[in-house]
């Protein structure tokens, strides 16, 4: 790096990076750059504190709404043979309750906590792509509210939150209810992935100088694992959703047994997402617990490394559990045993965390403040839920417990204990950080006891009623089977718990305020989110030398406020964030990040409108929204990304001079694209799995089935060659760009585009010419699903190529300023590789084995 051979500016022995006094106007310039929009421009806000609070508030709104649905269900089940709510509404209620809690509350709530807390905890000015998180938020909020309102006109999905076909296929669910789930939730998953990319890149690249991986707070570890799990888990359900929607809309039989499909394919895809989902929800909450307990007992987390390892291990092992939702499907016992053993294995890291928390409590001086109460409640409920979790991992026991109220009890113990209680603890714990004012201790204590007693009273009896023979998802049950008393207890408990939620809501409404600034550290915590904050986050970015900097360096808060650490002002007059290396957190460059704008808001409206109008088959309206979304995204990218080198390298203090522009693996844009390609690659793996699974269940004789044949192999050679040539052409374009030949570069890009489209087009043509049709049999459907997916990529490449060429003609791409080109090339090469792999799958896979 630049700079004379002075002592390492990151070492604790070096002098503070910036001297006093600070130049006049530095703070004002910083404030001006980070000013948040007011009045009717408020929706354009992108500051992570505001987006985080909006995000969390919306998630909590959905929590309350879905909770009301749960109360309605409990009212119906209070008495046997009750007629309060008819079966059709009841089926919508439990489907919507589950879906909203999972997709619109749990994941967004923890993502919101990440968006809100991570920059402060890592002492970053903001996340690397503020408009992306704002976009994710608006798409989620608009789409979620419209999705929820479907319950008011009877159009809510009614096939269960797990959406098992064939019940959710067009034949048994002809209305739009199932489409609301598939399209409405499908695109909210996209918003979750956007958030995950943001969090991964943010945690790896935006930490304060000196905050090595070893010093990173546990919450950041948890969010990193959480986001990485989203990257690998959500693609499965997105792919499943695409398949089911293709089946519903066009009759491609992926799940229709009579035409070669298999309902179990959906279950594999869904639970490959669905089980990790539980840990996706739990891990960030565990991370919050690991942050709150040390502050509450004023002691460092015992076994920091063990906990970090436990988070990593859980993240991995949770991908080996999915069949544990399918124990009753008749899969061979040995297969079930693999998953049973993996389920046992995943309980070890969880045990480590529980004992690490107990050990931390033992070493400190516990104070029974409201957050601590919720933590203790969490430990009680979660440990109980964890133990029943081990029980349902026992295959023969699960054959009895599966799909009964025992499982309802288990999952609510795990999710309410494992996520809602930590979240409430977090709200009570971090509320002062947001507004400088805590929530009420009295109300909080009352709320805790109501919730704790109510939750146990609601769900403990369900263990019993389940084993006494009450299946899940029943809108009524007969009298005289001994179920009456347990159900009545559950209903009473639900009302008590609801009162607790009401108290929390009242407390938040009465006492929660957001101020632009924060001062004070009421719990005397040790981590950086308790530094004094403004809209710009910390005044200067601290040099981190330990895990709990505020405990180890009591003067740090004052030094940061005075601007004596890194980047005390703004170097360019715009919003900047300090980008550091992923392991050692050494400063690499200063990234300009975009401020408020309408483009991403319009893009969110367009995206939500597009999917929702597709649901109700307003094709023209959908086209309008789609155009709005694409146009807005392009405008957002055009004005907000790849701004080029705006000025000479900037001095951030400590003798560090950082460039204000970076390309390649140093840049956050490159990292974001790599993460996106991991998502994409996982989807493609699901596509390949689909093909292989259907081949497996159909047998070689029916793959392809009689009367269907692939084109001869030579017919596939030409498309493959064209596609490969497209990859070569884009590499050539890269060389041309390096030599500064912009026009030649754009021509090469256009040529590459033509080659790719021609390659994919000829392949499709060959398949159609061979008489292959997707509707007739799962074989055709699988082949055309592959074609569909390549087509989606071709469309993306088309837009990207034209965008790149336009940028080039506008003089915004050159040998130095080439981030746009690099990102496009990365995607392009992936698309080429994927197209070739897809062709191999189609043309070689069944034949190659013969």
């Amino acid at each position: 790096m630049a700079g004379p051979p002075e002592p390492d500016p990151l070492s604790p022995d070096a002098p503070l990076p910036n001297p006093l006094p600070r130049p006049a106007g530095e703070l004002e310039a910083l404030e001006r750059a980070w000013r948040r929009p007011t009045g009717w421009r408020f929706p354009t806000v992108v500051n992570n504190t505001w987006i985080g609070v909006l995000y969390l508030g919306t998630a909590l709104l959905f929590f309350v709404l879905a909770g009301v649905l749960a109360l309605l269900m409990r009212a119906q089940l209070a008495l046997p043979e009750n007629d309060l709510i008819g079966q059709d509404l009841y089926n919508q209620l439990f489907t919507t309750h589950g879906t909203v809690m999972m997709f619109l509350f749990a994941v967004p709530a923890v993502e919101a906590m990440g968006v809100y807390l991570l920059p402060a905890m890592l002492a970053a000015r903001d996340l690397p792509f503020p408009r992306l998180s704002a976009y994710a938020y608006w798409a989620y909020a608009i789409g979620g509210l419209v999705f929820f309102s479907s319950i008011f006109y009877g159009a809510a999905p009614d096939g269960g939150w797990f959406m098992y076909p064939p019940l959710t296929g067009k034949q048994y669910s002809p209305g739009v209810n199932a489409d609301f789930w598939l399209l409405g939730i499908g695109f909210i998953e996209i918003s979750a992935i956007a958030g995950a990319i943001e969090i991964i890149v943010g945690v790896l690249k935006n930490r304060a100088p000196g905050m090595t991986l070893a010093r990173m707070p546990i919450f950041a570890w948890a969010m990193l694992v959480f986001a990485a799990m989203i990257v690998f888990a959500f693609p499965a359900v997105i792919w499943g959703t695409i398949l089911l929607e293709l089946e519903r809309a066009f009759g491609w039989p992926f799940f229709i047994a009579a035409r070669g499909g298999d309902p179990l394919l959906w279950q594999h895809l869904f639970w490959f997402f669905g089980h990790p989902e539980v840990y996706i929800i739990f891990l960030p909450a565990a991370g919050m617990v690991s942050m709150i307990i040390p502050a509450m007992v004023q002691a460092r987390l015992v076994g920091h490394g063990l906990v970090a390892m436990a988070l990593l291990g859980t993240g991995f092992l949770s991908f080996g559990l999915w069949v544990h939702h399918m124990f009753a499907t008749g899969i061979p016992n040995l297969s079930l045993a693999f998953f049973s053993a993996a389920s046992f294995a995943v309980s070890v890291p969880t045990g480590i965390q529980v004992f690490a928390w107990i050990a931390t409590i033992a070493t400190g001086r516990p104070r029974l403040q409201v957050p601590m109460l919720f933590i203790l409640g969490f430990l009680f409920i979660f440990v109980l839920g964890g133990l029943t979790g081990v029980m349902v991992a026992v295959v023969p026991f699960d054959w009895q417990a599966h799909d009964t109220y025992f499982v309802v009890a288990h999952l609510h113990y795990v999710l309410i204990g494992g996520m809602v209680f930590p979240l409430l603890a977090a709200i009570y714990y971090w509320a002062p950080a947001a507004g400088g004012q805590g929530l009420s201790r009295r109300l909080g204590t009352f709320a805790f006891w109501l919730l704790f007693l109510g939750i146990n009273l609601t769900f403990f009896p369900m263990h019993v009623s389940g084993l006494m023979g009450m299946p899940r998802r029943v809108w009524t049950y007969p009298a005289g089977m001994g179920l009456e008393v347990w159900n009545l207890l559950s209903t009473i408990g639900a009302v008590v718990a609801a009162l607790g939620v009401l108290l929390v809501a009242i407390d938040v409404l009465l006492h929660f305020r957001i101020k632009g600034t924060m001062a004070g550290n009421p719990f005397h915590a040790g981590t950086l989110e308790w530094l004094p904050q403004g809209n710009y986050a910390a005044r200067s970015i601290p040099r981190v030398t330990s895990r709990e900097p505020l405990w180890d360096d009591p003067d740090l808060a004052e030094q940061v406020l005075q601007g004596r650490h890194f980047l005390p002002g703004t170097a360019t007059g715009r919003r900047e964030s300090l980008v550091t290396s992923p392991v050692e957190a050494r400063p690499q460059y200063l990234a300009i990040i975009p401020g408020p704008g309408w483009a991403h808001v319009l893009a969110a409206i367009g995206t939500a409108g597009f999917f929702l109008s597709l649901t109700v088959e307003w094709v023209l309206v959908a086209a309008g929204f789609g155009a709005l979304a694409v146009a807005s995204v392009l405008r957002w990218l055009w004005t907000g990304t790849d701004l080029g080198e705006i000025r000479e390298p900037a001095e951030i203090g400590g003798g560090l001079r950082l460039p204000v522009y970076a390309t390649g693996p140093e840049s956050v844009g490159w990292w974001a694209m790599v993460v996106l390609l991991l998502v994409d690659g996982t989807i493609f793996a699901c596509l390949a799995f689909t093909h292989g699974f259907l081949w497996l269940v159909n047998g070689d004789g029916a793959w392809p089935p009689a009367g269907m044949a692939l084109p001869p192999l030579p017919a596939a050679a030409l498309p493959a060659a064209l596609v490969a040539a497209s990859g070569a052409a884009i590499c050539l374009a890269g060389r041309l760009l390096r030599r500064g030949r912009a026009l030649a570069m754009s021509l090469a890009v256009l040529a590459a585009l033509g080659l790719l489209l021609a390659g994919l087009g000829t392949d499709l043509q060959a398949l159609r010419a061979a008489g292959l049709r997707p509707e007739a049999h799962a074989f055709g459907a699988a082949v055309f699903a592959n074609q569909f997916w390549q087509g989606v990529h071709a469309a993306a490449v088309l837009v990207m190529a034209l965008y790149l060429v336009a940028r080039s003609w506008a003089g915004m791409v050159d040998p130095v300023r080439r981030l746009t080109f690099e990102v496009v090339r990365l995607f392009w090469l992936y698309a080429v590789a994927q197209a070739l792999a897809g062709m191999a799958l189609t043309h070689l896979f069944p034949r190659g084995l013969a």
Partner: protein, 306 residues
Amino acid sequence: MQHSVFSPMGPEAARIAELAWLLFLGGGAIFLLVMLALLLALGGGEGVRRRLGARRAILAGGVAFPVAVLSALLLHVLGVAAALGAGGREPALRIEVTGRQYWWEVRYPAQGITTANEIRVPVGRRIELLLDSGDVIHSFWVPALHGKRDMIPGRVTSLRFSLDRPGVLRGQCAEFCGTQHALMAMLVIAEEESAFAAWVARHKVPVAAPADPTLALGWQAFGRAGCGACHAIHGTPWAGRSGPDLTLLGERRSLAAGTLDNHQATLAGWIAGPQEIKPGNAMPAFNTVLDGKELRALAAWLESLR
């Protein structure tokens, strides 16, 4: 009527119930231990807290203990699963059960019997159920018999069990299968070998046109209302197959898959207005076709089928 995991009627369910008790007792003990540790960490003596706060405590409580307990449990559970899965003796009776929205079709291929919503089995014989589905996914669950097994279109799953003593066991669909998932129950009736044989034999007796004028009117109404388009009665010209087989209907204990007790009055109510009782099921209302007298006669005749 047995409908609980904890009142097993056969060796398979008993083995699972034993396992369940083991899990509850062990799990309860572990829960209490952890809570005790938490309480000690909060307010225990200095020495206890120091020991709980060491890294060694994490390794002991969070690693060594679970690994030991879970390893033992894994081996034990695999033993149980092996015993349940191995199948033991070859089954002496095969019954095919097809799940349909929202009832169960039951066939005894060797005996040539088709019935619905009630499975009669002889005590002591080893029985295999072959399960499949006619529409969406259902799950066969009779808690006092065995664990549940899904019924998946395009696949055949199986469940092997035997019963120790006579009794009536209730079962219910356990996989959400649509509007009336809640009203899709069934009975398993375990009886002595001789009673079972007699039941099989009764199936072979042809049904004669009744002499009693009321029953004769019922017989006639059955035809005139078109019931035979969907329902079959063994030994009569009616052989519809899209609804449940009604042979020996009078002997069944329940109507509409466990929704109503079966007798003349409920039969009449069901025939005339099934969509109020179980909305969304496939049986149309015949109140527009049958007058009151015909309805009563029809119910009486159906009840007389025994």
